[in-house]
């Protein structure tokens, strides 16, 4: 794992200084600010943050699925090509190479079409595969994900399948076009706990077998650590820390990461409960002028509120905190983030 601790020199996906603004209720709001992140071929990168932190919006920007009227600055490069410039057939071909696995399979698979329709649709229209061959490949793909009885499943409708099964169908369908990068947007959040582990194991196994690159989006720091080589932590539309997953939990660079790690309920460890910080996670457009996390940070000083810190290299990772150097090693016992409100 430590091989992947640093960003690859020639990444498959490179996001550089990405900012996104959306028109909301007549005003333009910033939802992403200066996001820089890369995913190498075959690498698994986690993107962790709370609701509203911009992690899903980042994936949408990569998949070119931003809402109408969105404005993008910065660059997204896939295999050296500028993603923003893709049009028509090139864009569709790109979408065949970058697959997105969504959070809620119930909503993301057309309820009035059969599983078979869903499975072969992209193969037929993007890859131009003959119907009979597409069917065979679809049934094989289902079997690869542990779904036997493919013939029968192909004739069924989404509402006849359980959530976990449907999520596996979605993954199978997404992998059929043999993408090089998978964007997984909280693929297990809508499932119950036992199915979660199941789906996660399958996704991880397939990725390793096929050498797929994965951008794994989750609010769960530990889950990201289990699946990913590197993990980026987002807060208020910015990346506040990128670091090897193995180091992230025990040796965080950013106070926010430290509080996220401490906030996770652990069965075997008793975290000393310090005073919880009042406040709630903010979105990018609500963030104050200085460090976005400053109002909730136990370590904030005047300098934090003065200007927005830049993302800087530190100990093999990157961190967006002016006090990162002086706080080295002192963050693990930091107070946890308040999750109220």
């Amino acid at each position: 794992m430590s091989d992947w601790a640093t960003p690859p020199a020639d990444p498959l996906l490179a996001i550089e200084g990405l900012s996104v603004q959306l028109p909301v209720e007549g005003e333009v709001r910033t939802v992403l600010h200066d996001v820089t992140l890369s995913v190498g071929a075959g690498e698994a990168v986690g993107l962790v943050g709370e609701s509203g932190s911009g992690k899903s919006m980042t994936a949408r920007a990569v998949a070119r699925l931003l809402p109408r009227g969105a404005r993008c600055d910065g660059a997204i490069r896939f295999d050296g090509r500028d993603v923003a410039a893709l049009k028509g057939a090139d864009l569709r071909a790109y979408r065949g190479e970058v697959a997105m696995v969504f959070q809620d399979p119930r909503a993301h698979v057309n309820p009035v079409r059969t599983i078979g329709d869903f499975m072969i649709e992209a193969l037929r229209s993007v890859r131009g595969v003959e119907p009979a061959a597409a069917r065979r490949r679809a049934i094989t793909a289902l079997a690869d994900l542990g779904i036997g009885d493919g013939e029968r499943r192909m004739a069924q409708y989404p509402h006849e399948l359980s959530g976990g099964l449907l999520q596996r169908v979605m993954i199978a369908g997404m992998l059929l076009t043999e993408p090089r990068l998978v964007l997984a947007d909280e693929p297990t959040t809508a499932l119950d706990v036992t199915t979660q582990a199941d789906v996660m194991a399958i996704l991880d196994e397939l990725r390793r077998e096929r050498g797929l690159a994965l951008l794994f989006i989750t609010h769960d720091l530990e889950l990201a650590g289990a699946v990913c080589d590197r993990t980026a932590v987002m807060y208020a539309g910015q990346i506040v820390e990128t670091r090897a997953s193995a180091l992230l939990q025990d040796d965080p660079l950013h106070p926010y990461t430290a509080s996220l790690a401490a906030a996770r309920p652990a069965v075997d460890v008793t975290v000393p409960r310090l005073a919880a910080i009042p406040g709630r996670p903010v979105s990018a457009f609500e963030a104050p002028a200085g460090c976005a996390f400053a109002p909730r940070c136990a370590h904030a000083i005047d300098a934090c509120r003065a200007e927005r810190p830049a993302l800087e290299e530190l100990d093999g990772g990157r961190v967006r905190c002016v006090r990162a150097r002086e706080l080295r090693g002192r963050l693990v016992e930091a107070p946890e983030v308040s999750h109220h409100g």
């Binding site: 959306l22 028109p23 909301v24 209720e25 007549g26 939802v31 609701s51 509203g52 932190s53 911009g54 992690k55 899903s56 919006m57 949408r60 809402p67 959070q103 809620d104 947007d185 909280e186 959040t189 809508a190 979105s283």
Partner: protein, 288 residues
Amino acid sequence: MSTSTPAVSVRALRAGRRRLAANRVVAYGCAAIVALAVLLAVFGPMLAPHDPNASNLSNAFVGPVAGHPLGYDGQGRDLLSRLLTGARTAMLGPFIVVVVSVAVGAALAVIAAWRGGWVDSVVSTVLDILFAFPAILLAILAAAVFGAGLTAPTLALAVAYTPYVARVLRGAALRERARDYIAACEVQGLPAVAIWWRHLVRNLLPLIVAQATLTFGYAMVDFAAISYLGLGVQPPTADWGVMVATGQAGVLQGYPAESLSAGLCVVVVVVAVNLLGERLAERDGEGR
């Protein structure tokens, strides 16, 4: 709320809807038209400059002249006076329909939602059967049985509209009944009627008003159609629906003023009522 992005798009969607509904000029315009129509229904006959039934055949189809700004109809009666007078029955008919159908529909909805079980099944079945009778057909049938006029067709329309009102309100009443505060009232031992009146009906009131407004629009069209067919308000009484019918001979001879002006009155009021009703329904939907 699941993830960050849907929250943003839902908010954007709601903003778009609000912008559409917030077209204040249109809303105030509609409210003004409806208020004017109501005033005409009450005071119209008094405002009429001439006797709406005074006929002078030598003035038939004569266009606008001094003292008669809209001219005369095919029987030489003052058109403006007839339009002003005609507002009364044209508005009164749908008003009766709305009062009866909303009162009965709301009562059925609350009882069905409250009692549940077999009461709900019986009410729902009766309503389903009534759905099989188109409003116009029921009104024609009533006019045939009880005679043409204002009473029988309006009551028939009210019966025909009741299931539509009741169905919407029953759903809302069921949702409302499932809320905690109703259970809290019951635990406190408040009598059912008090809970209905003080809480259930009051909380449903915005929806009831919206439904009543929308129903008024449909009822106005249907009632005017019945009068147009000769089964509602009877000539020579001035009524917008009747005037469209009596003016039809003039249309074919190239004098469409009577039919068109009466028809325009119906359309303007119905458009205003519909837009107002949609706005009310939308506002109620957002409050939830």
